[in-house]
Assembly symmetry: C3
Homo-oligomer: 411 residues x 3
């Protein structure tokens, strides 16, 4: 009876308030533990231990001198000292307090103060999670075994283009405010109108405040897709821009060249975009998340990333801040990332804040339903959307973003 | 039965511990919501939204381009983004995230991402409170409708004198420690003896540490009055100084010229004081309150405020702070406001701290009783002291402070 | 029945989780209240009140102008203002708010605002604890009367040597992590191997990482002793180093000259150490403790303390901190005190953290048992270890540390 009651509790209806909470034992926390999550860029993992917080768990990431990646509990199982201050050695990480050495699997290998014939260290296995590197990002899997395959995300698997990984960013608000913002394309025309989206050279000013595109929302096998269209440059054509949201927490934006590069619109339009801009989110806890940003370029310009960087450097907030203005997030207008931080960090937690949703929240409503279904699937022991079956482990995972001109769909 | 039980709970005996707590649903919070409270000076409300916290509620104050004052909930009712970052427009305030526009009544006027024929915005009414400006201060009423009249406080209603509003001060302790401090006149002779009260030129050194005045306490229609007397300059006369405490949270000090200006005592004594020094307190939450200070002068010196300012500038703490002295509130002696902050901020919360009250706390005891009666009246749905009946809305509200020499009262 | 139940609760089994919690009413808090605890050095108690937190209680320490020491509750019993801002006078401390004067026993002597014939002050007795000065340290007793004698600790009672009291240190983690660290001698060979323990000139490199001494642990009348031995310089001798842990919270290290001074090993070895290094710990609350450090030297070098200070000044962390290393406690290697802070402050609270104890934790296990027994004894109303019986109040209390060469014990 107790079992049944416990099971009933566990499989209760998933609510909006469940989505933002990621700690161990929470519905969304258990769901997120079904996926590989990005932890660090390979570049930012140095020759010292790196403390990381993932889904509310305190861990330490390191690479032993053989190059093997390890992710183990932050506190030494012996007497609790932080392994963040440990020595990285040939075969693992050594606690500074009593010298216990752990390999990347968490197995204790040495205990220098124990008698020489002691076998106690063989019995000590520290908390450890599998880690894999792919295309410059380091991923971990915090869920129950067996781990699913780490998807071979197209932007991380070399296919002849150029890849750039941006410096990691961490924000101090709930990860889902950021994620669902991408299921809400009309905010681009409104919040970001100051960034020049409406004034750029792309076609008919696609993201105009006064003439917004049509928005359509599609559930996909990997998650969710936003499709934005406007009449094209010639009869029977339409401009298309898509954005993909892949479970559990990946965003692929397809229109980098149009939005940011602002170069030769006609040529770009006929070719489509050559640059995927992909954001891997990792919730640290309910109040912090980290963004790992990958740009993958397959066009012909060998200096594309330099140009992109130079263009972004010009996107600073344009506002003159008045002398009496002491507001925390000022200035923000004129920089997409600061506009997002201002609007998302002040929202509060989904399920706690009051809301009045409207027609234009259609994408958000649909996306939340997809997330709740995935959480419910995880609760039932089913494979949630975005978790690869083992037989597909070799496939490259594409999110079918498209940006360009196509033959108009019938309306 | 549930109703009766709920009602019984609501009308339980008001305790001392109820007084300092101001949040929604608390006895004192509901009582304070029966009054207009000061929010800002008109001067410090600029052309940008101003976030304010009042009685634990997060709100945003603004003035639309027609000059209308609005006070609405801080978070947009749509998806929660802070309206502190909104654009102030001709007809209201516009949320930065999706552009919803609200007028000063909270009515939603525009939703730019909704279909052009949508009437949804007509159904969205954001939290909003009435606001009024009077004599350079902006007041709001956070209670149930109908709102009582905003009292025409004499210091704010022009009657031929000069008015000065000081820069706003916010302190980080409970508001009631500050308020009841004024019902306790003997602290002036003790805590403030370092400020020169006992050494000034006024008459016989009215607030002497070793020869304190007589204190009397009177309940009034507006609240409470402290009457301090000493034998006067000639037989059959007495010096009188009064201080008024008006509900819910106003203090009027009548002796500004004597205490601070320290000019020609004989002349002043025969004429009485010409300057009201009035403090409007607003509890932000249980740990913070804001002080709005109004000086109203009706004397003949056209440079009175300049002189007062110059004199106050000299009232800095006179203590030499020793090199090993790391105490937080040092130095304080020699400046009334810093002396008050030191002594009140370290008291802790009324009802939580232990106390041993003495004869000299007679005023405090009586004043707390008056406040508890007012809270109880509010609980019973009666009109608490200090709330004006509608038929008196046109009257100027005087607090009958008097400072000067009068015929001695019989003893 | 209620009594019995309450008593049963009070005398429940003492657990590891009880040890670190020191507030009033906790098992360890009540146990610690059976002892005199150090509060301040005499040198750092100036002519102003000193706020101190001891076992979770907020107090203020002062010395009246007659030189009498007082320790009273931080908040004035009248209306709660902090006596930290009081005036120290001939006969006590005077509250700044209403001038109540308290003597060192907490007796109220004056209430200047009360009627001249009032006797109310006689009825007001503020919280007060006994205080005593011994050898440059100020101790207080916070427990029930009668207070036991303040032990005449040998390092504080002049017997012809030189005494030095170091500047006081306060750390922000639980006191017991620091205390039990001394019951764990193998950490010296491991954590502190970077400080040069293994490379110094003392005999056969006593604290070698690769050839650790033998450790033995002895329960004593004052608490606990760690005995560390290695084969001596000639047949039939052994090097001995001992460390004493006296209840409730005193550590005596005997090897100062060997470890720190690194001078003429042979001469020192034959003579034994002449310097006691004694640490008196005082828990401020569960997250902070203060260390009072006494060095007592009985050797022949008149410049010993100057040399010791000069040597310590060289013990700075030797690590080159990499440019990308942002870890909080970096650098630490090369300075015993910073190595200790790094390892102990990251452990978390005993009883909350997970642990896997090993053979080398034998001392820690035994020491925790001694502490739990002492707490249990205090619960039962018995005299816990380290509390002196009154008849021994005149005796000098030695902790029998010994460091040097002795005839080898039989093995």
């Amino acid at each position: 009876m107790a079992m049944k009651s416990s099971s009933a509790r566990k499989e209760r209806q998933v609510t909006l308030a469940d989505i933002p909470r990621v700690g161990p034992g929470t519905p969304a926390g258990e769901w997120l533990r079904k996926y590989w999550l990005a932890l660090s860029t390979a570049e930012e993992l140095y020759d010292i231990p790196k403390a990381v917080k993932v889904l509310g768990e305190e861990l330490v990431l390191f690479r032993d001198l053989h190059g093997r990646l390890g992710l183990v509990g932050l506190h030494c199982p012996h007497r609790g000292t932080s392994l963040e201050y440990g020595d990285v050695e040939e075969n693992g990480i050594r606690c500074p307090y009593h010298g216990w050495l752990f390999d990347v699997s968490g197995q204790c290998l040495e205990q220098p103060a124990e008698p020489k014939d002691s076998v106690f260290c063989q019995k000590v296995k520290h908390l450890s999670y599998p880690v894999q590197e792919l295309g410059g990002l380091i991923f971990a899997y915090l869920g129950p075994q067996p781990a699913p395959p780490l998807p071979r995300y197209s932007c991380l698997v070399d296919r002849g283009g150029m890849r750039q990984i941006e410096p990691v960013r961490t924000n101090d608000y709930n990860w889902f405010n950021f994620f669902e913002n991408s299921a809400d394309p009309c905010h681009i025309c409104i919040l970001h109108r100051h960034t020049g989206y409406g004034e750029q050279s792309w076609g008919d000013q696609f993201f105009s405040y006064t003439d917004m595109p049509d928005f359509d929302f599609v559930e996909t096998d990997y998650g969710f897709k936003v499709v934005m269209t406007k009449p094209g440059p010639s009869a029977g054509t339409e401009f298309v821009d898509t954005m993909s949201l892949a479970l559990p927490c990946i965003i692929q934006v397809g229109d980098t060249e149009f939005v940011h590069a602002k170069v030769d619109a006609v040529k770009l339009m006929t070719e489509g975009s050559h640059c995927d801009h992909v954001l891997f989110l990792t919730p640290n806890d309910d109040e912090h998340f980290t963004i790992f940003t990958v740009n993958y370029y397959t066009g012909s310009d060998p200096n594309f990333f330099e140009k992109l960087k130079a263009l972004r450097a010009t996107e600073v907030p344009k506002e003159a801040v008045k002398e009496y203005d002491r507001r925390k997030y000022m200035p923000f207008k004129g920089n997409v990332r600061q506009e997002d931080i201002m609007s998302q960090s002040t929202q509060g937690l989904l399920g706690e804040r009051e809301e009045r949703l409207a027609t234009s929240d259609k994408g958000v409503i649909m996306f939340r339903r997809i997330i709740r279904d995935a959480i419910a699937a995880a609760q039932k022991g089913q494979r949630p959307k975005g978790v690869l079956p083992r037989e597909k482990s070799a496939a490259v995972v594409f999110f079918d973003s498209f940006t360009g001109v196509r033959k108009a769909a019938p309306r």
